[in-house]
Symmetry: C2
Subunit: 299 residues, 2 copies
Amino acid sequence: MASSGVWAGKIPLQTAYELEDVDGSGATQRSELERIGYLGETPASHKHNPLAAHFELHIEQGPVLESGARKIGVVHGVQAYKWFVVEVIGRACHTGTTPFSNRADALLAASRMIAESHAIATRHGGLASTGVLTIPTSSFNVVPGKVTFSLDIRSPKDEIVSSMEQEIRSAFQAIASGTGALLKDSTPGMPCEVKISTFTDSPAVNFHQDCIECIDAAAEGAFGSEALSRVQKQMTSGAGHDSAYTSYVCPTAMIFVPCRDGISHNPREYTTPADCAGGAQVLMGSVLRYDRLRAERNV
Amino acid sequence: MASSGVWAGKIPLQTAYELEDVDGSGATQRSELERIGYLGETPASHKHNPLAAHFELHIEQGPVLESGARKIGVVHGVQAYKWFVVEVIGRACHTGTTPFSNRADALLAASRMIAESHAIATRHGGLASTGVLTIPTSSFNVVPGKVTFSLDIRSPKDEIVSSMEQEIRSAFQAIASGTGALLKDSTPGMPCEVKISTFTDSPAVNFHQDCIECIDAAAEGAFGSEALSRVQKQMTSGAGHDSAYTSYVCPTAMIFVPCRDGISHNPREYTTPADCAGGAQVLMGSVLRYDRLRAERNV
């Protein structure tokens, strides 16, 4: 998404150029563009190269369309998300010689926080996920003195992400201090310290109503009497996309097609040829309809 | 403890000789004994070199004596412990595009298991600890598909370790299948698989009543009228010690002295000179009393 970010003026060109390869080779986005002969002279800028509108066709990367036997998703926006790094600091001690009441068990506290963040997200109809958890020094017979984990919270609505964050921050403090939820039936221990730092803050993106209506109409045109059972209206994208950036500077919306088991960014990623064709058909219909709209409005 | 294990006939000599340095240098216990000139000709065997009794003085390695302002602990045995490796297998998926109901979140399940093992140990008055947790491939925006963690459970009584193990195994299965405890207020997901393998099984050790009585009497002799407030009777060692091995072949018991903050195996380990002297005094008194006992019994 770095390129669309530059085009939309949301990421400085130099920042994108200097992005380094994760393999540690020192190669940058710029050096690789040069190497493959793609560093052209046309400015990557919506001011120099404007678009009248942007329609993006993508696999869903999730299970919703497939599980509902839908063929097209009309995407109204990209959900908001925030990423945090949570550090829990307790005190390392021997697993055999230290009574529960004398422990400040950083991993036990982190475990409760992860379970609690899931419960809070459930109440809000949002998402909360931890993908990374590390214990700097770990051993079978040492109660961890420090644990660091990631927290990813999402919702189509900014205000829900904000409410979830508030609740999670106060629940994590309570768990760390030993007064929080999930402590029923457990021995209270000594307090841990918790530090929560924000790593990424990506507000919700709402796509353009004109584009959404064009996709709706194109999908109805493509599926006819089956549209009601084959088209999933009002979807929100869970992942980020180029459309999130283009939507800041031109009317934008997205079309989803199903993918097997919701799997993406993986060799097992798969969408049937028929579903790809259905998506392309709706994409073409959407562009033609939007073009007619522009002509009528004489834009 | 390898040497006392050989002496007691519980570890084959060859196994102890071949133990390799954890630094990966290839040095073995035998090569290091040769290098420092300690590979003598006297057999390390209780048959060739019997002891009439074994008294061991040690720092507590825990906070009980210090927090109670006690100076001596009379150790009645070493608690039982079992170590397990727990593998939770779910399905990796995108944190943004996958609804909770479609997830098999291995880390969420592992977190609930860790919290639940603590609750189960609390109910039994035992210990449960996780020191190691690894996620083979982890990323901020990927729900972990696999998590492996250690579980260390302990109690002075073998039957309590056994009951805890049974309860933990069934609770972990229930959590993995999505029907277990701690699921209140959470969205049920798809089932994970859990595999629990036993890594170490160390039964409880009970020290010899004669030795314990000698330590009791020696502590009372050393502390006089203060013995009631200075001597902690009926302690159980949380960690393993040489005495666990010697107790299989001769009357054995242990004496604990306090250590600062319960810290051991660490440069911060500290016991005051006065407490060391108190421990040595009780050790001498115990040996003299036991010797007199042997003489009286004409053993």
